[in-house]
């Protein structure tokens, strides 16, 4: 009942190239759902279809109760997004960034002021409020970026490789933030190519060549592929050698 994302036979073709090839899955409210795969495996394309950035070639996707093809505007109002490149304006101050995105999502001025104060104190950024974002350390920028994506209280947040280029400690802290958010009932869709991060996800879908090669909790995936960690699971799935057979029988 509480399914916030329903995806049925979703495909995206660029000419003869099948970037996403017939994927189906469902995500429940408050879940942390990971999209894993090598670069070019189709995770970013899948994410872009779910956020309404690009139209699917075929198949159906429902996000926050609305069809992405028929009602992308309704979807957009209910989701938050943080891109793999940095999603804030570096030449604007912390406060200006918050105000801008509040404004873009149509929040009233009083609400924005209230949210700004709450956000600044939660992130302990009161002293840096009028500094340009470019002056903040990367870890802070990332937390700020995440919080800004949550400003309009979306049901689902899409994180496209949010931790690329960040040191492990900062990455850990960032994941604590993600957990806290999910506990409040916000669904998290995250793409990553760090296999250790996959362990943090509630469920993980492994993408290879546009298809979902495996989908389960990290625990069960490790069991299924007889692997010590997610890295090994990934290697067994992605390497096109004798283990390919294991993969296919495992999927059925």
């Amino acid at each position: 009942m509480d399914k916030v994302i329903v995806c049925e036979n979703l495909s995206k073709h660029f000419g003869p190239f099948k970037a996403v090839d017939d994927i189906s899955f469902e995500v429940k409210r408050g879940e942390i759902f990971g999209f894993l795969g090598a670069n070019g495996a189709g995770k970013t394309t899948a994410l872009k279809m779910l956020t309404g950035l690009i139209m699917p070639t075929s198949g159906r996707a429902e996000v926050a109760g609305f069809d992405v093809r028929q009602n992308p505007e309704a979807v957009k109002r209910r989701i938050g997004y943080m891109s793999q490149k940095f999603s804030l304006y570096e030449d604007l101050t912390v406060r200006e960034n918050i105000r801008l995105f509040g404004g873009i999502y149509g929040l009233k001025r009083a609400v924005i002021l209230e949210k700004t104060a709450a956000l600044l104190s939660a992130l302990e950024l009161e002293n840096a409020a009028d500094q340009r974002v470019s002056a903040l350390p990367l870890g802070w920028r990332q937390k700020l970026s995440f919080s800004v994506a949550l400003l309009h209280e979306p049901q689902i947040v899409f994180l496209d490789e949010p931790t690329s280029g960040v040191d492990p400690l900062t990455r850990r802290r960032f994941w604590e933030l993600i957990y806290a958010t999910a506990e409040q009932g916000v669904t998290i869709m995250v793409t990553t190519h760090y296999m250790d991060e996959a362990e943090y996800c509630g469920r993980v879908s492994m993408m290879v060549d546009g298809r979902i090669a495996a989908l389960d909790t990290p625990h069960l995936l490790k069991k299924q592929f007889d692997a010590a960690d997610m890295d090994e699971v990934f290697r067994k799935i992605a390497r096109p050698d004798d283990k390919q057979k294991t993969l296919k029988s495992g999927k059925k």
Binding site: T51, G52, L53, I54, E73, K76, R77, I79, Y81, M82, S83, Q84, K85, F86, S87, L88, Y89, E90, D91, L92, E96, R99, L100, F101, G102, G103, I104, Y105, G106, K108, R132, F158
Partner: protein, 365 residues
């Protein structure tokens, strides 16, 4: 509307925070007008000349005197023989040489009288200009002399209409205006959109409830305002510093400037749907817009003297159609009855590129 205003405000903040953009926006028009107006002048003064005058009589002395007193020439060298001329040209000491025959005064009234003017055509523009000056002065001198001895002569009366002093700035101010508006409207817009793509913020905007048309309008509105301000600065500088007239309607000039900016802005958006990085956008605008605007629109080189293919390409450049509008309104004082065709072409160009870029916008970004 609230989200749209939040977006425009951010755009202005970007412009105000970036020193490089500010310099281009506010420094460029002033520098370019001054540069073109004062430095890149077609007029040559005090060009060094050498004279070979074996006759040294009253007529040749008077003619040399007339050349020098015109202010365009200064006598740098008296050649002792024709063989010295080559060295003088080679060393670059002189730009033109005047060669008299023997017994000039005696022959000057005769039908086959001659005097030779030799220019240094390693710089062809300067050479042509200098020879024209010298020919005019020699012609003058001949008239006076003919009058003095009572010989019948055909007198040619020339008048340069609209710009009797032939001020080069009358040509440069409209040219600079076409260039600056293209620079600010097209180049800056394409760069700022490309910057959003490069930084990854464009994705965030596209995922937001902002519609593509909001993003386009939000991006272009600030530059439209700034372009208009720049056009005002260029026209005012032309009038106040260089004494350019405004004989036609200021309102029509403003209106047609806005039409031209509309074309430039839609070109800028069109480029940004193609360019993924700021550098690519800058490169495409410079090569695809600024160079043709300068070289093919008739701003620097007259279109009439271009080979046919270049004239045809020139027709596709907005400045080719906008330049005559500015000149027509400011210098000739004509109105819509003459310029409607140019305005129509510009409007059409703008619409075409706007439709093309709107079609491209979503897939390409």
């Amino acid at each position: 509307m609230r989200h749209f205003f939040a977006f425009i405000k951010k755009e202005f903040l970007h412009i105000l925070r970036d020193r490089r953009t500010l310099m281009i926006l506010f420094g460029m028009p002033v520098v370019q007008v001054l540069l073109f107006g004062f430095v890149l002048n077609n007029e040559i003064k005090n060009a060094a000349i050498a004279v070979y005058d074996p006759s040294k009589d009253e007529a040749s002395t008077a003619l040399v005197g007339k050349l020098v007193s015109s202010g365009y020439f200064r006598l740098a060298q008296n050649l002792k023989g024709p063989e010295e001329m080559e060295a003088a040209f080679r060393s670059g000491k002189i730009k033109m040489a005047v060669v008299f025959p023997n017994e000039f005064a005696k022959n000057a009234g005769q039908p086959d009288a001659r005097v030779q003017l030799i220019g240094d055509a390693s710089d062809p523009n300067a050479a042509v200009t200098l020879l024209n000056y010298a020919q005019a002065i020699v012609g003058d001198w001949q008239q006076e002399r003919a009058k003095a001895i009572g010989a019948p002569r055909l007198e040619i009366i020339t008048r340069m209409r609209y710009n009797p002093e032939q001020k080069a700035v009358f040509n440069f101010v409209p040219g600079v205006m076409t260039l600056i508006l293209m620079l600010v409207s097209a180049m800056m817009t394409s760069i700022t959109i490309a910057r959003e793509k490069e930084m990854g913020t464009m994705e965030v905007l596209l995922v937001s409830p902002l519609k593509p048309i909001h993003i386009i309008l939000g991006k272009t509105t600030p530059y439209l305002v700034l372009s208009f301000f720049n056009a005002l600065v260029v026209v005012l500088m032309g009038m106040l510093v260089f004494g350019m007239p405004l004989r036609g309607s200021a309102g029509l000039l403003a209106l047609s400037s806005v039409v031209y900016m509309f074309v430039a802005l839609s070109l800028g958006i069109f480029i940004s749907t193609r360019a993924q990085t700021q550098q690519a956008a800058m490169f495409m605008s410079a090569l695809g817009l600024l160079m043709p605007t300068m070289l093919l629109s008739g701003f620097i080189f007259p279109r009439e003297s271009m080979p046919l293919p270049l004239q045809v390409i020139g027709n596709a450049i907005p400045a080719t159609w906008f330049n005559p509008i500015i000149k027509g309104i400011m210098i000739k004082g004509v109105g819509l009855e003459v310029l409607w065709k140019n305005l129509l072409v510009l409007t059409g160009m703008g619409l075409v590129f706007l439709v093309l870029s709107l079609r491209n916008f979503k897939d390409r970004l």
